[in-house]
Structure formats: C-alpha cells, structure tokens
C-alpha cells in the first residue's frame, strides 16, 4: 500500500490481473496453445478462448454493441476461428484475425440495427461509482478517475486503440493496431502518439506527480 502512495501512480505495483496478463511471454504461450489446438486439443483451444476473450469483449463493446450482442458476436467469432485455425501460424496473426473478425461482425450486427446503443462516447461517460472500500481502494479509485478523465480527452480513435491494446498480448500490439486500421507505429515498438498524448495529459492533470519516480 505504501508503494502505491509514494510511488508514481501509474507504475505502482499491479497486484492482480494486468501484470500477469501482460507478461512478455504471453505470446509464446498462445503460440504453443495454437499448435496443440491444431492437433485437436480441446483444452488448448479452450485456454486460448479464456486468454483472449476479454480482449474481444472490449473490441465488441468499443464498437458500440450492447452486452447481449457482444456475447453473440464473441460466440460467432470463436466458432469461425475453428475453421481458420490451420491458416494462422503465430500469436500476432491470431490476435489480428480475432480483432478484425470481431470488429467486422460487430459492425454487421450494429448495421442490422438490433438493440443498438449510441456508440459515440458511450463508454467514457461515467466511471461506475466505487463502493465503500479500503483506504487502498480509495487511492486506486482516485488514480482511476484521473486516468479516466485523461483518456476521455483523447480522440475517439486513440481511446479505442488504448482500450483494446491494454488487453492484447504485448508482442501483438502492432498486429492489433493494424487490425484497428491504425497506421504502422501507432503503438509498438515505439510509444506512438496516443500513449504519448495520454502521458502528457496525465502529467498535466496530476501536476506531474505520476511520472515523478524519485
């Protein structure tokens, strides 16, 4: 807890989830699972589903689908992957294919006009209110509010990119950005404009505190 208090806000210890999910070897692990899935391992395919569905959920929701439609789209995309598995040979190609297919399917469903929600700025209107929590939770919530406000000031394309990239395996950033129609170099191996701008905004809003590592 003290680390969170005194350390730079955005580089404090990440106790759960993201730290593990974003390990550099995540892509290697997915590639190994793909090999096993092609050999017919149901369990390996299932592990890929568990690994990458949170990414695809954000893709579908960022495209403006309601929760029910997003669930339908994910089911459709994974079923379709099974037919394409033999033609996809590495983690980046898999992630790129999944993101592209999810986005196209999401657009198709939205165009069909069923249960449509307004997509523009829908996601960043309001950060759900935090319930009563520990002091540590309150600090985390304050950090999130700052981050939420800063992301809300980015362009819609940057918001979509960062929201989705944050759930992608680290080596696949370039493939995901390409699948989202962003130019080469918009993120990975360099920082890219969206993330650079976010850092500038955070530095402004937090009075520079977040980047002060000393």
């Amino acid at each position: 807890m003290d680390d969170r208090r005194t350390g730079p806000i955005m580089t404090g210890p990440i106790a759960t989830g993201a730290g593990q999910q974003n390990r550099p070897d995540r892509g290697t692990r997915i590639a190994r699972l793909m090999g096993a899935a092609r050999q017919g391992s149901e369990d390996a395919l299932g592990q890929i589903v568990t690994e990458l569905s949170p990414l695809l959920w954000q893709v579908a929701r960022a495209a403006g689908l309601n929760a029910g439609d997003a669930e339908d789209v994910l089911q459709t995309v994974w079923l379709r992957l099974v037919a394409h598995l033999d033609g996809i040979h590495d983690s980046a190609a898999l992630t790129g294919w999944l993101v592209t297919t999810t986005r196209r399917e999401a657009w198709r469903v939205r165009a069909a006009g069923r249960k449509q929600v307004p997509a523009d700025h829908e996601t960043l209107d309001e950060l759900p209110a935090a319930g009563p929590g520990s002091e540590e939770q309150v600090i985390v919530d304050d950090e999130r509010r700052l981050l939420w406000a800063a992301i809300g000031r980015l362009s819609a394309r940057c918001q979509e990119l960062l929201r989705i990239i944050a759930f992608a395996p680290r080596p696949d950033y370039g493939a995901v950005a390409a699948a989202l129609g962003m130019p080469v170099g918009s993120i990975g191996p360099t920082r890219g404009r969206c993330l650079a701008k976010l850092r500038t905004l955070l530095a402004d809003e937090a009075g520079g505190a977040w980047r002060d590592a000393s």
Binding site: G17, G46, Y173, T190
Partner: protein, 166 residues
C-alpha cells in the same frame, strides 16, 4: 484540447516499463468498468465442443420477458432463434422445484430429435408433426439446444443455439 505533434516528441521513444504499467492500469480500469461476463469463456468452450459436427448456429432473433399473471410474479421468457433453415421459439417457465420447463416450436413444423445440453446429463425429446416439443424439468444453469437431423439416415445439419442461461 488538441496537442500538435511537436508537443509529442516522446511518441518516437520505445515503449518502456511505465508505458506497460500505464496500459495495465487502463486494462484494470476497463475490466472494472465494463467487465466481460465471467462465465462467457466457459459458454464459448461449451459451444466449441460441437466443432466437429456439421452444424448451423442459430442466432438470437428476439427475447421477451413477460409477467404471467396467472402464475403470480414468476416471469416467463420467450426466446426466438433463427438459422438458415429453421426458426426455434422457446418459452421458459419456472417450476416450483427450482427447475425450469421449456416449451418449444420449430418452424417450419417438423419432427426432429432435440437435445438440451445442460448442467446435468443431456436431455432428449422429439418434436411432433406440428413442430412442438417440451422439456418438463431442466436444471437451472447454462444450457444449449441442439436440433438434430430427423433420423440416422438423414443427411441434414444439426442446428445449435447459442448458450442460454436459465
């Protein structure tokens, strides 16, 4: 506020640990603000178990909750699925013992073997000539309907619905 590129010289720097930390925070934030339903990956895994079958996946076409006055406050759900060859409509009513009753209709009307994959062993019934079928007691939880070809000699495809939660 729009920043000109000149203010973003750091865009060309390599991603560093603080960038990865920041992306981790963004991930945590969206995971909290817009979480994927926790059971969704399991439902998808369930669906993928059909991948070796020749199947058509039916799409959810309509869903409606209605209060059934005669049964008090208990809700009845009506769900319609469409596939290329078949429309499946089901109505779900709660039984007093905690299970649900599922009444269904196939259109066009036809006799087909219908399987309910659910939390317990799969249940199987056959629709009548009007396309009607009923599962009297289905345990609550994740379930999925599979409409099989009419007989073993038939070559038609199975139609599978998305996973449902009763």
């Amino acid at each position: 506020m729009t920043l000109p590129d000149a203010d973003l010289p750091s865009a060309d720097e390599p991603l560093d640990d603080s960038d990865f930390g920041l992306l981790g925070e963004i991930r945590d934030m969206f995971a909290a603000a817009d979480p994927m339903p926790a059971e969704l990956p399991d439902r998808i895994r369930f669906l993928l178990a059909f991948r070796d079958l020749e199947i058509e996946v039916a799409r959810l076409a309509a869903e409606q909750d209605e209060l059934v006055a005669a049964r008090g406050p208990e809700q009845s759900r009506t769900i319609t699925f469409d596939s290329t060859t078949l429309t499946i409509m089901i109505r779900i009513d709660a039984n007093k013992d905690g299970t649900v009753r599922v009444d269904g209709w196939l259109a066009p009307a036809q006799c087909r073997e219908i399987e309910m994959k659910c939390a317990a062993d799969p249940l199987s019934v056959t629709s009548d000539e009007q396309g009607r079928f009923a599962f009297l007691r289905v345990p609550r939880g994740t379930a999925q309907l599979v409409v099989r070809p009419a007989g073993p000699e038939e070559t038609g495809r199975s139609v599978v619905t998305p996973a449902l939660i009763f």
